[in-house]
C-alpha cells in the first residue's frame, strides 16, 4: 500500500469516526431534550399509578376515621383489634366486607365518596372522601 493510499484510508476512518461521535452526541441531545417531558409525564397525576391507602382498625375505631383519596385509589382496612369487625356502607348497607377476622384485611377500589360503619359495633364510623 502506498503512503497516499494509507492517508486516504486514515482520512476516511477519521471522517467515519467523526460522523459516529457526532451522531451519538445528537442522540444524547435528543434524549436530554426528552428529559423534561418525561419528568412532566411522571408527575402528571392522570398517569401516576393508583395509590393504596391503609385504615387500621384498633381500639374500636377506624384510624384514620376520615381519609382523602383520588378516584381509582385503593383502601385497605386491616383489623388489628381484639374482636372481629366489618366495613359496611352507611346508612343504606348497600355493600359489606363481611366479617373481618383478627389480623385479616379487606380492600376496595374507590370511585366515589362514602360513609361506612361496622355493623357489628354500630358506633364505629368512617368516611372516604374522593378529592377532585
Amino acid at each position: 500500500m502506498t503512503t497516499g493510499k494509507l492517508w486516504s484510508v486514515l482520512v476516511l476512518c477519521g471522517i467515519g469516526l467523526l460522523f459516529f461521535v457526532n451522531r451519538s452526541f445528537v442522540e444524547s441531545q435528543k434524549t436530554d431534550a426528552l428529559w423534561p417531558l418525561r419528568s412532566f409525564t411522571a408527575i402528571n397525576p392522570t398517569l401516576v399509578t393508583n395509590t393504596k391507602h391503609i385504615v387500621i382498625i384498633k381500639g374500636m375505631v377506624f384510624d384514620p376515621a376520615e381519609l382523602h383519596v383520588h378516584k381509582g385509589d385503593t383502601v385497605v382496612w386491616i383489623n388489628k383489634d381484639l374482636v372481629p369487625h366489618n366495613i359496611t356502607d352507611f346508612p343504606k348497607n348497600r355493600w359489606t366486607s363481611g366479617t373481618l377476622a383478627l389480623s385479616s384485611s379487606w380492600e376496595k377500589s374507590i370511585s366515589n365518596t362514602f360513609e361506612y360503619y361496622c355493623s357489628i359495633h354500630p358506633t364505629m364510623k368512617g368516611k372516604i372522601i374522593v378529592d377532585p
Binding site: 374500636m60 375505631v61 383489634d81 381484639l82 374482636v83 372481629p84 359495633h121 354500630p122 358506633t123
Partner: protein
C-alpha cells in the same frame, strides 16, 4: 402551749380524715398476681358469653339476639387472646377471691334469668348487661390494670377497655328500647 395543743389536735384530725379513704381502699382492693389477673379476665369474659348463650336460647327479640351474639363473639375472641398470651408468658390462670366472687354472682344471675320469659327476660338480660359491664369496666380500670406487672398483659387489659365501653354503650341503647 394551749394553742400548740389545739393545733396538734387539728392536724391529727385532718391527717385521720385523709388517711381514711386510703385505709378503706387497702381493705377493699384485693391484691392479685398476674396469674390471678389472667384468671379474672378469662372468668369475667366467660360469664358474659354464658349470659349471651342464655339470651339466644330464650329471646325472640332481634335486637337482643344480635346483641347477645356480638357478646358471645367478642368475649370469646378476648378469651382466646388472653389464653394465648398466658400460654406465651408461661402463666397458668389461677382461681382467686375475685374470680370466685364473680362466679358466685353469675350463678345467682343465671338463676334469675332462667326464671324469666318473654319481655321480662329481655329486660332482665339487658339490665344485667348494663350493670355487669359497668362493674367489669370498674374492676379492669381500678383493680386489674394498676396491679398487672407484665407489660403485655397490661396492654391486653387496656385494649379490652374500649371494647367493654362500646358494649356498655350498645347495652344502654338496647335498654332504652326495652323499658317496661
Amino acid at each position: 402551749m394551749k394553742t400548740f395543743k389545739i393545733n396538734t389536735m387539728m392536724l391529727l384530725f385532718v391527717a385521720a380524715l385523709f388517711s381514711m379513704p386510703t385505709m378503706a381502699q387497702n381493705k377493699t382492693t384485693p391484691t392479685l398476681t398476674d396469674a390471678e389477673i389472667a384468671s379474672v379476665a378469662v372468668t369475667a369474659n366467660q360469664i358474659d358469653v354464658d349470659y349471651g348463650k342464655i339470651a339466644l336460647k330464650k329471646s325472640k327479640e332481634a335486637e337482643i339476639r344480635k346483641f347477645a351474639q356480638t357478646m358471645i363473639d367478642d368475649h370469646t375472641s378476648v378469651i382466646n387472646q388472653a389464653v394465648a398470651l398466658a400460654k406465651k408468658l408461661g402463666v397458668t390462670p389461677k382461681d382467686n377471691a375475685v374470680s370466685k366472687s364473680l362466679m358466685d354472682d353469675a350463678k345467682k344471675t343465671k338463676m334469675t334469668l332462667d326464671s324469666k320469659e318473654g319481655k321480662a327476660f329481655d329486660k332482665a338480660y339487658i339490665d344485667n348487661e348494663v350493670s355487669y359491664h359497668e362493674a367489669v369496666i370498674s374492676t379492669v380500670k381500678n383493680v386489674l390494670i394498676p396491679q398487672t406487672q407484665n407489660a403485655e398483659l397490661k396492654d391486653l387489659l387496656q385494649s379490652v377497655l374500649p371494647i367493654l365501653e362500646h358494649h356498655l354503650h350498645m347495652a344502654k341503647n338496647a335498654q332504652a328500647n326495652h323499658k317496661m
